[in-house]
């Protein structure tokens, strides 16, 4: 039976050594995507995720986000990303690492699914991180707005505003690389 995030955290605090790794693995893809979206640098993002792993492990007994363990993890990650960004400011960024996109699991329709994923994530990477993170949490991960607001430390209205700007920005970027979509939507 799959244990909930809260159950895993409680088990971890009770000494279950398998609980924390299970919780971390559940969100490592999401944390990685958020970290890369924030830092745009493979090594920095990898280190930020690993630092999150460490810090959340040590601070688990101080987790107050009863309803959202994942939001608590993202909050830790974003704090680390901000520290990382300050440290690496002025260093040239890497492009989105090709291997990250080459290693997606075998999709149902390999060509179409893979291309769509590449286009959307590549377009997302062209948005300011603060906008992209909202789309990642709301549209891709399906988080409720209130949970996103809590994780980001902003008001729900701000989440809506950022999300709207992100959608329009993503549309512009995405549309430019999807002539077929452009024609289809213009015909509608």
């Amino acid at each position: 039976m799959t244990r909930s995030d809260a159950e895993l955290l409680r088990a971890h605090l009770a000494g279950d050594r398998a609980a924390y790794p299970e919780l971390f693995r559940r969100y490592q893809s999401f944390l990685w995507t958020i970290a890369y979206n924030e830092l745009r640098n493979r090594e920095d993002a990898a280190e930020a995720v690993q630092d999150t792993l460490m810090r959340a492990y040590q601070a688990a007994d101080r987790c107050t986000s009863d309803g959202s363990i994942r939001g608590w993890l993202v909050k830790i990650l974003l704090n680390i990303c901000r520290d990382q960004f300050r440290r690496s400011r002025g260093r040239p960024s890497e492009a989105w690492p090709g291997e990250a996109l080459d290693e997606v699991p075998m999709p149902r329709n390999p060509i179409a699914d893979h291309e769509m994923r590449m286009d959307i994530l590549a377009a997302l990477a062209q948005l300011p991180p603060q906008l992209g993170q909202v789309l990642l949490m709301v549209d891709l991960a399906g988080w409720p707005l209130s949970e996103v607001a809590e994780a980001l430390g902003v008001a729900v209205g701000t989440v809506k505003s950022r999300g709207w700007r992100a959608r329009k920005g993503l549309f512009e970027v995405y549309r430019a690389t999807q002539p077929a979509l452009q024609v289809a939507t213009e015909d509608r």
């Binding site: 971890h12 605090l13 924390y20 790794p21 971390f24 490592q28 893809s29 990685w32 995507t33 493979r42 990898a46 280190e47 995720v49 690993q50 630092d51 792993l53 460490m54 492990y57 040590q58 601070a59 688990a60 007994d61 680390i80 520290d83 300050r86 440290r87 291997e99 990250a100 996109l101 290693e103 997606v104 699991p105 999709p107 769509m116 994923r117 959307i120 994530l121 909202v134 709301v138 549209d139 891709l140 399906g142 707005l145 209205g157 989440v159 809506k160 505003s161 999300g163 709207w164 992100a166 959608r167 329009k168 993503l170 549309f171 549309r175 979509l181 289809a184 939507t185 213009e186 509608r188």
Partner: protein, 240 residues
């Protein structure tokens, strides 16, 4: 009045198509139908997009870090005895060689006493010590302090390598985290690092926040610092 698209004849249908990510003060009726349709389509596509898994080498690195985690310590440890023996993970690469040669900081410091046995003697609570930044690999490192007649200077936060990434043997984040936990700073954010010569002994200077504005913590650990070994050579509050 603007004619609405048959697909989106009212604001309820637009809201349904666009979901919650719409500002409260947005004039939905004023949106071009093409834009609504496109945003709705993008929203559906985003919802059907799977997040890419992290690269395999990073997953391996994190798995290694998970395997390295020391037993949970609910409250901040005050000594090395809290850390149980854990296999040490080797650093992935040799320490980075930093350009620029040696830069010396001669310090008069007040050492925080009683932090961790194995450091300098408590009698050296006020001592003139020499920190020399090392330019290259950490081992073996010749002790090369400045001459004593250089004279002590007060160490300020500006002297600390904030932003420095010269972690040397602590370059691997998992080992660094294990070392910090062992040294009584579990989960601490490292603001900067530099390999140093501390009173004739090689070490790694880690700059940590204290939670107090203008005040940092300079932690110098021995190069072998890990979950179950190493020494704190100095642990100094710096700044106001």
């Amino acid at each position: 009045m603007k004619e609405m698209d048959p697909l989106y004849p009212d604001t309820a249908s637009i809201t349904s198509a666009l979901g919650e990510l719409v500002p409260d003060d947005l004039d939905l009726a004023g949106l071009p139908p093409e834009l609504i349709a496109s945003l709705a389509a993008n929203r559906v596509e985003l919802g059907n997009t799977e997040l890419p898994p992290p690269p395999a080498d990073l997953v391996e690195r994190w798995e290694a870090a998970l395997a390295e985690l020391p037993p949970l310590v609910p409250s901040a440890p005050t000594g090395a005895s809290h850390a149980a023996p854990v296999a040490e993970q080797a650093g992935p690469t040799a320490p980075e060689r930093r350009p620029g040669g040696r830069r010396a900081v001669v310090t008069q410091i007040r050492r925080r006493a009683g932090r961790w046995a194995g450091g300098l003697a408590a009698a050296a609570a006020v001592a003139a010590l020499v920190v020399v930044a090392l330019p290259g690999p950490a081992d073996p490192l010749p002790a090369d302090p400045l001459p004593a007649d250089t004279g002590p200077l007060a160490l300020t936060t500006k002297d600390l390598p904030v932003g420095g990434q010269d972690y040397g043997p602590l370059r691997d984040p998992a080992r660094r985290a294990a070392c910090l936990a062992h040294a009584g700073a579990p989960g601490a954010t490292v603001l900067g690092a530099r390999q140093v010569d501390w009173a004739g002994r090689p070490g790694v200077l880690l700059v940590l926040p204290t939670g107090e504005p203008g005040r940092l913590r300079a932690l110098v650990v021995s190069p072998d610092c890990a979950a179950d070994r190493g020494e704190v050579l100095a642990d100094i509050p710096v700044g106001r």
